[in-house]
Symmetry: C2
């Protein structure tokens, strides 16, 4: 009986799926319903119970080890990691008593309505941050991710409300948030020449390039750095990056600010900003998947330097899962990856179209807040989608954050369509339609070939080869005859077979 020893050891080997993994955990202990131990036995110090992650070494987790980092956690749990449900309730009550009973209520109905709505949102956040379901991320603190989950709910409900207003009311409704909003945006001129070297300008012939070197260059770089951390795959990032430039080309007849010079599209954006961002992101991903995940309690670390390092590392992930999207391994994954790319691009387009239809100036703080919001929820959502896609038996639900991000993207798009159907319906140039048609046909035929025709061909070839083997050489043992597939398969679906056999 080695159990008590392994439980009492101060360093437990766990993998980092604290909440979800526990739900489906296979308990390997005996199911004998007899009394588990004497009271004296039950009184042994129960250090590992302080941290629930410290004892989740299920067989499911073990089989996931190939894409997931190993984690060492001594299970120390300090004040900040305890639940404070009753404390929060008490403080909330005190604040409510003060604000509503001791302060005098203003007589202004509009002001009170606003205040009531803000108070409702704050109470909802109080509830959600203490009580909402935890997601896959735990660092720096699970409450941080619960907070963003609640913000997603509030944002989605706000979008739904806006969606149900008339176009005029909806735009005027923005005035309640900021009185400067609700004003039509001025028409801007995005024309200009595209000469890299402009001989007509005598003071500075390179002025076109310097003009482009504005705040958007670091913004693009940072954006793609974060997107790479979210998607965790070089190929998918590159495809999305290039696809977005194609979308800009295709939609510049609708939104004038999509029209850029050819070298701005391909050199500045794709190669320099996005490319460098993706490169830096991939380097970080490499570091994250290689770095050791050792979590010691702050008080168990002897040196000051170690303590400070531990504090800084609190802002790095608890563990790391390498994403292996493997789009070509089966039809389900292929469609899922296509869907993810589609939703990702839709969310990117929404950024521009939503500003346009709700009359938001590009430099407004709400635009920036929306991006900060997406940075925070995007990572959680993508991880949840990956988990759901990778192992739907284990993660039987699409994650809550992924559900909300999908709903938000759809609602934003519906607002765009409802608020400005004219712009959306502007006729697409014939050349652009042709290109998209060609692209869709190519994808469809590849899908058809890869998942239907190729399978039939392979099965036929396989049957013929086996027949030959049986007739030709009966004595030779044919070990892997049943699952023989052509060698030299690409990385896309290389490891998939062994993974799909995993017990879930």
């Amino acid at each position: 009986m080695t159990k008590p020893d392994s439980k009492r050891s101060s360093v437990a080997l766990v993998t980092g799926k604290p909440a979800n993994a526990a739900e489906e955990q296979v308990n390997n202990g005996s199911s004998d319903p007899s009394v588990s131990g004497s009271p004296h036995h039950a009184l042994t110090p129960a250090t590992p119970t302080k941290h629930k992650s410290a004892k989740q070494v299920s067989r499911d987790n073990l089989s996931r080890r190939n894409t997931e980092s190993e984690v060492f956690d001594d299970g120390t749990n300090t004040f900040f990691w305890r639940a404070h449900t009753v404390t929060v309730l008490f403080i909330l009550t005190c604040v409510l008593v003060y604000v509503t009973l001791l302060e005098e209520t203003p007589q202004d109905t509009t002001y009170n309505t606003k205040r009531g709505i803000v108070a409702s949102i704050l109470v909802f956040l109080c509830f959600g941050v203490t009580q909402a379901k935890d997601g896959p991320f735990t660092r720096p603190h699970p409450a941080y991710w619960r907070f963003w989950l609640c913000v997603s709910v509030v944002y989605e409900l706000f979008l739904i409300f806006v969606l149900f207003q008339t176009v005029r009311d909806g735009r005027q409704f923005m005035k309640y948030i900021d009185p400067k909003l609700g004003v039509a945006l001025p028409e801007r001129d995005y024309g200009g020449n595209c000469l890299i070297y402009d001989p007509g300008n005598t003071t500075d012939p390179w002025h076109n390039i310097w003009d482009k070197m504005d705040g958007f260059v670091p913004a693009h770089f940072l954006g793609w750095y974060i997107k790479t951390l979210v998607i965790r795959d070089w190929w998918m990032c590159m495809i999305i990056s290039v696809m977005f430039e194609f979308l800009e080309y295709s939609l510049e007849h609708q939104l004038p600010n999509f029209s850029e010079c050819w070298w701005d599209h391909w050199i500045m954006d794709v190669l320099v900003c996005n490319g460098l961002g993706i490169y830096a992101g991939m380097k970080t991903l490499g570091w994250l998947s290689m770095k050791p995940y050792q979590w010691q309690g702050l008080w168990n670390i002897p040196t000051y330097k170690g303590k400070i390092k531990r504090m800084a590392f609190q802002f790095t992930p608890y563990s790391w899962v390498k994403f292996e999207w493997k789009p070509a391994s089966n039809l389900r994954r292929w469609l899922a990856v296509l869907g993810i790319i589609f939703m990702f691009l839709l969310a990117e387009l929404n950024t521009f179209y939503l500003k346009f239809v709700l009359w938001m100036p590009p430099e407004h703080y709400l635009v920036l807040l929306r991006l900060v919001f997406f940075v925070n929820v995007g990572g959680v959502a993508m991880r949840e989608i990956y988990d759901f896609m990778d192992d739907p038996k284990f993660y039987r639900k699409l994650g809550q954050q992924a559900w909300l991000v999908a709903a938000i993207t759809v609602t934003e798009f519906l607002i765009v369509v409802k608020y400005d159907p004219r712009t959306i319906m502007l006729p697409i140039p014939f050349f652009v339609t042709q290109c998209w048609f060609l692209g869709i046909v190519l994808i469809l035929s590849w899908t058809l070939w890869r998942f239907f025709i190729r399978d039939i061909t392979l099965r036929y070839k396989d049957a013929r080869r086996r027949k030959q083997e049986v007739t030709g050489d009966c004595g030779r043992p044919h070990g892997n005859g049943g699952t023989a597939t052509p060698s030299g398969r690409s990385k896309l679906n290389g490891i998939s077979e062994s993974l799909r056999h995993r017990k879930s």
Copy 2:
């Protein structure tokens, strides 16, 4: 190695804490990080994984067996018990597309605002019912309890909004829900004589009794039947029932409809309606704690009669926990039980005061809806409070539903105080003040005696007795000398010591 056998058996012995138990589960398997099995092993049919409850036989659960029923579950899980996150998202999108793009938006701003709010609430319910955290109850379906959780959130946010309005605006705001509301209630005359046999009335001298025999008699009975199922303790029910009549006596100078005849208070209410309700409730509790909890999949039952019985039993609990409040076992439990009784009585008073200050006629459907709401959330909240109180190491958070019910009760009370401070502050008659003062002094002194003075006395006596034992009879083994307590202890704290030693 008996594990695979116990996992493959079709009848697994589990206790019924599907969600929470899993979170803290001690995994008794080895923590060897080596590969758990060959692919062939991983391909064995994994029937028990269909239902997560079917494999949670942790040591914690085993030690809870004495208050919790045993459950047999074959782990069958049909379509209705699968998660439908993606389906719900898809249907939601379709409905949104239809309502907002294909239907024309009305030009009426007020109507649109209402519609937007209702739509937001519905989307929130869609999200919550599919994605919110599960509570302790699973029958008839976890989604049912998630629905009521979301309703609690919406109701609490509504209350917060009302709390932040001025009294006039708040009462007029009710007009948005029902145009008939927002009108001052007529003054009612609750006077009358209290003769059981009224000789002055020649047609029917018993008319006073028949007058009281209205719809409130079955309502009181049913109410206390449900409250008994919620509290699951004869003594606490009786105390709350009697205390509420005292409160009616004490507050009849504020709310005239609290004034009743003495025999209405004590015979009709406490003895007949409440008493019978509690009696019936206790009988049901006895049946629930004795009945076998055997859950077979509908398709595994051969007979039609069995299938119908199984369907009906879907509306009974999955498992049963007997509540042993044991208020006298330690100070923490004593204060918790006092707090529960206090909040329970406050929630009961809110029913009457809230109607009064928000100008709700007693027969309005919202009053009934509020009671239906409390019936549904009260049971969950009480179970969560019991779990949190009973084992705060295991249930480290106060349950979400309990948190919300507490917040709702407090907010309702704050609305009452804010909307009608005049009524609340009406001077209490001197005799009533005296009675309450006496009661509070009695409780305080008992608390002081039981948890402070008695302990010191016991410890002193214990030390003296041990000293005598050591000096008088050195040869006799003194087995239980260290924890000797006076015998004949009441049921209130009888089993507590062994329970508190439980490993958690």
